[in-house]
Each structure stands twice: as structure tokens, then as C-alpha cells.
Symmetry: C2
Subunit: 410 residues, 2 copies
């Protein structure tokens, strides 16, 4: 198994658990928050800075890396870890979410999804097989199956179709990975360009063209990226059950809950997470994609989630919005113009130990990079610290008390 998941503690009152997730590039302490490294960088942070914050795993967006600089260039550099100098765990998504959400006029077919690059309008094709190929070139520790992401709200029929398609695609992804592991090498495919045929045919063409190159790290049973599948079904419980059961039959090393935090009411999100997580096996990591606020992290953990990713701390930071122990503050607000307190009086991060709100506001008002840099550092610290406290409370058997305290906060 390329990854190994150990559970160290389980809460008696909820489904929360703390564990260790062993990956080719290191061990991750779960539950874990994964900052989003979009195009090979967590915006505004250096890799030294991320390490200093105690970040254990980053998420790389396959869509963006595929477009620029291209997965071939990254493979040539030795893979994403070496390219961006992050010798720690990395998870890549399949590219599906951006393709289907970045207004890229994605057209979903049985074989895969056609889309236009948001950069230059060029046409591309992404199939379950192609998503595996591209991610293998990046060489992450964990990769995701291509799934169909539908808009919210969606009809039952749409959701049902997407659950079924997602299952068929997950099976194809798993087969592709097995084929590539069997070969030990893989086809490069082409980085871009119009492909007018289905996935299998295009790969044959590419094989004929003679494009064969090695992966960033040798494929083997222990070093191959783990492949996670994504449970869909919107907020419909029967569809969530169908999706989960079908994916479990295919047997993946981890399961994500996708298709949430897309506009549905919070209570429905929490209910769906609770329902779906209970269907997933205890001994596999559970990943809630694209979530969320600090409160969502606690609620997600309480419902059995082990892994989270979200742009919220980093994107909000660039928009002068900081998470603090007393709630969110918008730093550009005039009330902070003469406020010499730190961002968060309870925070021990490098930013709160050194800078005032007065200064941070000035940086944002004048559009200085340092504003985004410092707010990003603080927000990530806040998220990671929240998760560390959650985990610690689980290890000490006091998660329920922690959970109540968080719920009671303003």
C-alpha cells in the first residue's frame, strides 16, 4: 500500500478520530488542513514559511499546472515536489472541479470532459485516464479520480446521472493506474491540443507516436501515488448511499466527499457530511473537499472527516480579511486605522507577535504585497492551530468539551 492510515484516538461521543497517514513523502497527523498550492505555490507564502508554520501537506491544482507550466515540464523537473521544492506530502486534485466550474464551458461526455483554457481559449480534453496520466507526471503522494461536479442546485436526475458517471469514471481511473503500474513507465500523452477521439483511442495514437517517458519517482507498490475516489450525490442521502456503495465495491485507498460547499445551506452540508462519512470505511482516510471555515473544520471532524482543503484562509487574506479568535475582521475598515493591537490578541504567530492592525491596514490601503503576505501567514496559522487543537483534544480525550467551546464562540 502506498499509504497507511493509523487511528490513534477516537472520540466517544462523536465520530471524530485522530490518526497518522503515512505517505511516500512523510507522515501526516490527521485530522489535517491542507493549504491550497494552486499553481505550485501557496500565494504569498514561501516554502520556508510554510514549513515554519508546520504545514504538513499541500494541495496542487492539476488544472492550473497542466495549463502552466504543463505536466511534462514538471515531470522533466522530477515531479511537483522537486519543481516547487516541497519535499513533503502533496495531494493533487483531478482538474475536474476547475474544468467544470471556471466558466470554461466544459462539455461532459461519457468519455470525459471537453473544456477551454481560461487563459487562451484553447480546447482540451480531460478523461479519467488522462487525469491519472497528468497527475502521475506531477507525482503526488495522493491523487484524485476525475469526478463529475454538478452545479447547485441540481435535479435528482442530474445528480443520479452524475453519481453513475462518477462511478464509471472512478473504475476507469483505477484501471488506468493499474495499467501504468504494470508497465512501470507511462505514456506522456500530449500536453495540450485538440483531441478528436475518445480516451482509449488517443492513448493508442500516442503510444504509436512513441512518447514514453519515466515517472517522477519509480512506480511500485510502495511508492505509487494513492488514488482516492470522490463520493457525489448532492444533498440527497439515497444518492450519497448509492455513490458510496459503488465506490466501496471498487475499493480505493481513501474516499472524498465532493460536491458540497457549492451553495447549499450549512445545515444540509453538515447533515450530508455526517451521513456520507458514516458510509465510508473506518480504516480509510476521509477527505471533505473544498471545506471550509474554522467552524466547518470542527464540525467536519466531529462527523468523521480526516482531511480538509480550502482557499478561504489564503484568499481571504489577500482580500484583507483575517480570521481571529474573536471572529473575522476586515482590515481595511477605518476602525483599525489607529488600532495598535495585534491582529489577534490571542494569537502567537509571527505576525501577531510583531505587527499592529494600524500597520496592516496601511499595507492593504496602499496595496502593498506585505499586507497579503502577513495576513496569509496569520490566517494559515489560525487554521493550522485550530486543527492542532482539535487533534490534541482528541488525543487527550476531551474533544467534546473543545467542540462545545467552539460552538459557544461568537
Amino acid at each position: 500500500m502506498p499509504i497507511k492510515f493509523e487511528i490513534l484516538a477516537e472520540d466517544k461521543a462523536t465520530r471524530a478520530r485522530a490518526g497518522l497517514l503515512h505517505t511516500p513523502h512523510g507522515v501526516i497527523e490527521t485530522p489535517i488542513f491542507m493549504p491550497v498550492g494552486t499553481g505550485g505555490t501557496v500565494k504569498g507564502m514561501t516554502q520556508d514559511g510554510l514549513e515554519a508554520l508546520g504545514v504538513q501537506i499541500l494541495l496542487g491544482n492539476t488544472y492550473h499546472l497542466y495549463l502552466r507550466p504543463g505536466h511534462e515540464l514538471i515531470r522533466e523537473a522530477g515531479g511537483l515536489h522537486r519543481f516547487m521544492s516541497w519535499p513533503h506530502p502533496i495531494l493533487t486534485d483531478s482538474g475536474g472541479f476547475q474544468v467544470m466550474s471556471l466558466k470554461s464551458l466544459g462539455r461532459v461526455t461519457e468519455d470525459g470532459v471537453w473544456f477551454r483554457s481560461h487563459l487562451d481559449g484553447s480546447t482540451h480534453f480531460l478523461s479519467p485516464e488522462r487525469a491519472v496520466e497528468i497527475q502521475l507526471a506531477l507525482g503526488p503522494d495522493i491523487m484524485m479520480c476525475l469526478d463529475e461536479c454538478v452545479e447547485y442546485p441540481a435535479s435528482y436526475e442530474t445528480l443520479q446521472r452524475s453519481v453513475a458517471l462518477t462511478t464509471r469514471w472512478a473504475a476507469r481511473a483505477k484501471n488506468e493506474l493499474a495499467r501504468d503500474m504494470g508497465h512501470g513507465v507511462r505514456d506522456t500523452g500530449s500536453e495540450s491540443g485538440i483531441s478528436g477521439v475518445g480516451a482509449r483511442e488517443s492513448r493508442s495514437e500516442e503510444r504509436e507516436a512513441g512518447h514514453v517517458s519515466s515517472t517522477p519517482y519509480p512506480l511500485s507498490r510502495t511508492t505509487c501515488p494513492a488514488l482516492f475516489a470522490i463520493v457525489q450525490g448532492g444533498t440527497d442521502k439515497s444518492l450519497r448511499r448509492q455513490s458510496a456503495e459503488q465506490l466501496l465495491d471498487l475499493d480505493f485507498e481513501g474516499y472524498a466527499v465532493g460536491g458540497l460547499a457549492v451553495g447549499e445551506p450549512k445545515s444540509e452540508m453538515y447533515d450530508t457530511v455526517e451521513y456520507a462519512a458514516e458510509l465510508l470505511p473506518r480504516d480509510r482516510p476521509r477527505y471533505l473537499m473544498g471545506v471550509g471555515t474554522p467552524e466547518d473544520l470542527v464540525e467536519g471532524v466531529a462527523r468523521g472527516i480526516d482531511m480538509f482543503d480550502c482557499v478561504m484562509p489564503t484568499r481571504n487574506a489577500r482580500n484583507a480579511c483575517a480570521f481571529t479568535s474573536e471572529g473575522k475582521i476586515t482590515l481595511k475598515n477605518a476602525r483599525y486605522a489607529r488600532d495598535d493591537r495585534p491582529l489577534d490578541t490571542s494569537c502567537s504567530c509571527a505576525v501577531c507577535r510583531r505587527y499592529t492592525r494600524r500597520y496592516l491596514r496601511h499595507l492593504f490601503v496602499t496595496g502593498e504585497m506585505l499586507g497579503a503576505i502577513l495576513a496569509t501567514h496569520h490566517n494559515l496559522h489560525f487554521y493550522l492551530d485550530t486543527m492542532r487543537r482539535i487533534r490534541q483534544s482528541l488525543l487527550f480525550g476531551v474533544f467534546t468539551e473543545f467542540h462545545c467551546r467552539v460552538r459557544a464562540r461568537p
Copy 2:
């Protein structure tokens, strides 16, 4: 004396010297390069990062700080050091250069210069006295007299007039500082607004209005900012002599050579620096403003200069241009798309130890903050390291050999 300048070593073949400049906020090892902290931040660097690079003194631009956030707000915060959390030496300029160069339609009169804010077109007035007042509110270790900066090329008559005006303004600045030191407190003046009267009259009005507040740190003979005057005269040696002699008569704690690096040929700049520096007293620090390239630093030191400031390393970095031991490289160039070497194979900075040109190029091509952040760190390291090597060669008595090696470089 608020500052004390010690010479530790002098080169036998040139006028280069190494020394120590003691200021209220710490000792500076000269010759020194001062990164430009424009509006209270060196763009792309955190203060932690600057300290890690060994930056000893920053330059703050009074013009920008006066407009935003305003010198009163900074005084209220305890001064610029506390506002931006830089407990080390700071030098502020007078605001004159930006006022007369930022296309702000500055109109020079005997009393001072009228100008429009580049931000919102509002009208402001800057006099020698006002420049002292504003800088005192910022509370630097070293401040500059308001001088008249003329465009290049300028006629002899224009330069002659500006030399004379600069001298009269320098005398007024010195008197203003003495008045403020005598009082122990100072007038706030007003942060902005149209002033329809001369400098002295407006200050009386403000006194009448009752605006009196304390300085960031107590004014006394030992903690008051040092005031440097600026020698003008273009590339005309007789005018430079006039300017220097007149300012020496007024007796300042340090002297800058201004009005160069404004478009004149390099050889003329070097000749003028050489001529002007020889006129300045040995026992006072000599500051060449707005200069320059790494080569200019060595040539300036050889001619007797102790202090330099320039936006070149930081601005070039943001434009994907890096200084290396093999010359400047433009990182966006396609030739670096697959180059896995560090920025500079001879550099030991944190960036060169961790990242490749391939990755840096990707960051710039995709417009990521990290590109500017890393290139800025490297360029500053390059400049500071160049200066450290210069200083070391002086202390070891081998400056001439170092000088020759630098001249021989491509």
C-alpha cells in the same frame, strides 16, 4: 552628537574607507547599502526577512508616508520604527525628489515647493521647515534637508540657481531643527491641505491653533535625528565646489551627493562623485543618493562614498530581473523554461539554495507573488553581499585587488 562616525580602515590606493556609523537605533557597518522601504515596507520582504538578510538600515520615503498613512498617524503610533516594527536604523529622505520628479507638477518657489498628490491631485506645500517637521514626526535616525532636484540635462544657470536655493534651504532646515530641539516639543503642522502662505506664516497659524504634540522619541542632543545636507550642482565641478563649500560652512553631520543617476553618462557620474566626495570632510559620512548598480557601489566606495540607496535590486526583482555573479538575467526569458540551476550558481542565499530558474520563471509567467518575493530576497542578498565583500576587502587591506576583479567581470 546624535550620530558618531568612526573610520576603521582606509584604502591606500583609493579614497575608499570602512567604518562604523553609530545611530540612536544601532550601529551601521559602512560602506552600507540601504534598501528602500518606500511606504513603510520594502516591497515583497517581511521585516523578519530583512533582518535575516542582514539589512542594517532602511530608507523611508517621506513623500509617500506623508500622503499615506500621514505623518501624524505615524507619530501617534510612536514613530516609523514602531509603526513598521523595524527597531533598527532608518534614514528618511526629505520628500523633495518625489515631489519634483513624480510628474506631480511641483512648482518651486523661494519658500518651498507646491505639489499635487499623485494619488488624488490634492495640493500640498513642502518647505525646508515642513520637511523637518514631517520627518521628526516619523522619527528616523537620519533625515535629509529639502533640496532642489533639477531635471537632466539642465543649463548652468538653472544648476547655479538650484545650488544657491539648496544652500538657503539647508540653512533653514538646520534652524528649524534647532528650534524644535530647543522647544523639546514641536508643532504638528497639518497633514495635508492647501496652505496659501509661506512656511513661517503657516507655522505661526498652526501654533495659534494649538497643535502641539510630542515626538516619537524624546528630542535631546543624543537622540535627535541627524540632519544631512545634499550637495547639488549637476556634473559641473565649479558648482559642485560652490555647493559643498556653502554646506560645509553651515556644518552638517553628514553630506549627501544628490542630483546624479538622473540620466547623465556613467563616466560623468563617476567623475562628479570623485570630485564632490573629495570636497567633503573625511570625518563625516558621505551618502550617494539613488545609486546604483553593483558596479556603481564598488566605484562609489572607491571614490570615498559610505552610504548608498537604490530601488534597483527590489524594482528589478519585481520585473523578473535578477542580479547574478554572471550578470543580469531576465527570468521570463524562454531559455530558462527548463533550466534547473539556481538563479546564481555562486550564491548562497536562501533562494539559490532552494529554487530553480525553471520554477522562478513559472512563478513570473503566472504572475505569482512568490516570484517577486524570491527574486527580491536574492537581489537584496546580492547587493548586501557585494557590500559586505567590499567592506571586508577594506578591513583586510585588499580593496584594490577586489576592485580590479570586479572591473574585470563580464
